[in-house]
Symmetry: C2
Subunit: 305 residues, 2 copies
DNA sequence: GTGAAAGCATAGGCAGATCCTTGGGATGAC
DNA sequence: GTCATCCCAAGGATCTGCCTATGCTTTCAC
């Protein structure tokens, strides 16, 4: 079987014109190189050098094969080099999970932070929602992620909360914002809620369900949409109120519903942001980098823990 | 140390998405492939697959390295293929030794014969003279050759005569050609001799020296030139006679000295053509081919043995 | 929920490859 | 002729590669 080691010995011998010199260059004893050359000649079925008493002389076959051997070794070196560069995060792809609203807060800045420090890399910010990210983590498609809690159960996952953001009641009607909103008021509200497809996993929905659980009530969602932007815009036009993490409200309201405001719930509810990865996993440098940068960004918007 | 085997296992695993499937494709047991992957990850210092209970998932590092691994394996395959082609004489260089007058007889036809059968090869017909060829053989720079005998001693060489050519006396003066030329007549002649630089090794000169040895005489060389063509042309203009192998005379006279003729020496002298290579050498297919074709060509011009 | 199947890791053992040292033969320089 | 150089050959130590057997985790079907 052809091996890189054989090719290295071949090239050294060809260039040095001597097995002894080649062995010295490669740091081996002379018989070892001799054996490699013999093995190469046997696997290829050709004679590469004529042994002529003292010294060896390359045959025309050796002349022909030399550029091929050089190409092969160069390609192998390229492989090694590419791995080195990836290891130093000079190149390659960084894939990181981040669900909807966290990405809304910090996504663009996070990518900018990464590219600032590592201009050569590709960045993939994966995940429409928290539970999809969770599934990707579990299946190994993602190494680490920033998710919102409480969410689906996290068996086999290591979850480290890094920040929390209050969940607030948002309305374009000032009379709805005069006092903190209780469970009873919430149950009576007409709501425009985003993230319809994920309503069973979404952390804000989960919080609201927990809040109303003791009262036997359910919030009325008058309108269900996918995008928080659409929900906010509809809320601004008076089609209903909505419930959002405060960070999202502060990002979206000035742009989409300048006349709307928000107020706390009573009791206050909090959405937690956490770093998640498989329990017991050794994180790559790239994942550690993403975790560090994402945490820093989230903590500039939400409340650090 | 990086190895082709590791890269083969890596690619098979990447494409199959499973160590077990890769092992089956490669014809190994699963733990063997597993070990190779682990070794590759260790030598490169990166994680290529995430082990996730059932199955493995390639990391983004694996995505990045895959094309490099493919290039490397393709280059290695190219090396193997090139060797195969050389072995079948489909490509590569054929180097063969042939000294002056033999090349004059058969050189162009020999090259044509080779290219007819093996259109992809390069051909090198090496050697200004017999003794240079001999030295190249001894040093290993040439594998085999066609030389003229008697020449320098052939210790360590295997010499197989394949044809002989009579050495004849050539003159533009018909009176010189009426009878076979004896040693006495030869010693009195004014000669124009080619191959000046090699006069001590040249086989025709050696024959003449042997012929005159018993008489205590030396041939008078009025003019010494390098090329047989020049010698024949000067002879044709009457500046002297010359001595040549008959094959050379028949090639050169019609073109360069149409009024000249030739006659035998007494006793007759013969130049022998022989195939030569290092004693005990195993000849490559290319060398065997050249020997076969060169022998056939020489035997169509000179007298086969 | 439970058992069966799939897939990877680990452990132990065997065969072959790799590498070294020592010694012998051929060649070339003086 | 003598010595130095350079290759091959042989023997032994170590390492690598590969196998089988086994255990653990995840996945899937009932």
């Amino acid at each position: 079987m052809l091996s890189l080691h054989q090719l290295r010995c071949f090239l050294a011998t060809y260039e040095q014109g001597s097995l002894t010199a080649a062995a010295e260059e490669l740091g081996y004893a002379q018989p070892s190189v001799s054996e490699q050359i013999r093995g190469l000649e046997q696997t290829l079925g050709v004679q590469l050098f004529r042994r002529v008493g003292r010294g060896v002389i390359p045959t025309t076959v050796a002349d022909t094969l030399r550029p091929h051997a050089e190409r092969t070794l160069a390609a192998a070196e390229g492989t090694r080099l590419a791995a080195q560069q990836v290891r130093r995060i000079e190149t390659g792809t960084i894939r990181f999970g981040m669900f909807g609203v966290a990405r809304l807060y910090a996504g663009a800045d996070l990518v900018a932070d990464v590219l600032e420090r590592h201009p050569g890399v590709r960045v993939e910010l994966i995940g429409q929602n928290s539970s999809e990210v969770h599934e990707d983590l579990r299946r190994g498609r993602l190494e680490a992620a920033m998710i919102a809690m409480p969410s689906v159960t996290s068996e086999g996952m290591e979850v480290r909360p890094v920040a929390r953001d209050e969940v607030v009641y948002v309305s374009a009607d000032p009379t709805h914002l005069e006092r903190p909103v209780t469970a009873r008021r919430l149950a009576e509200a007409q709501l425009v809620m985003p993230d319809t497809s994920w309503r069973h996993d979404d952390s804000v929905r989960t919080l609201l369900r927990q809040m109303l659980h003791g009262t036997g009530l359910n919030p009325t969602t008058r309108i269900e949409v996918e995008d928080p932007e659409i929900a906010v815009e509809l809320m601004g036009r008076g089609y209903g109120d909505t419930v959002l993490p405060r960070g999202a409200a502060e990002v979206l309201l000035p742009r989409l519903a300048p006349h709307a405001g928000y107020v706390s719930l009573r009791p206050r509810l909090y959405d937690y942001f956490a770093v998640v990865h498989r329990a017991g996993a050794v994180l790559s440098p790239a994942a550690q980098l993403m975790i560090e940068l994402a945490t820093a960004r989230i903590q500039r918007i939400a409340e650090p823990l």
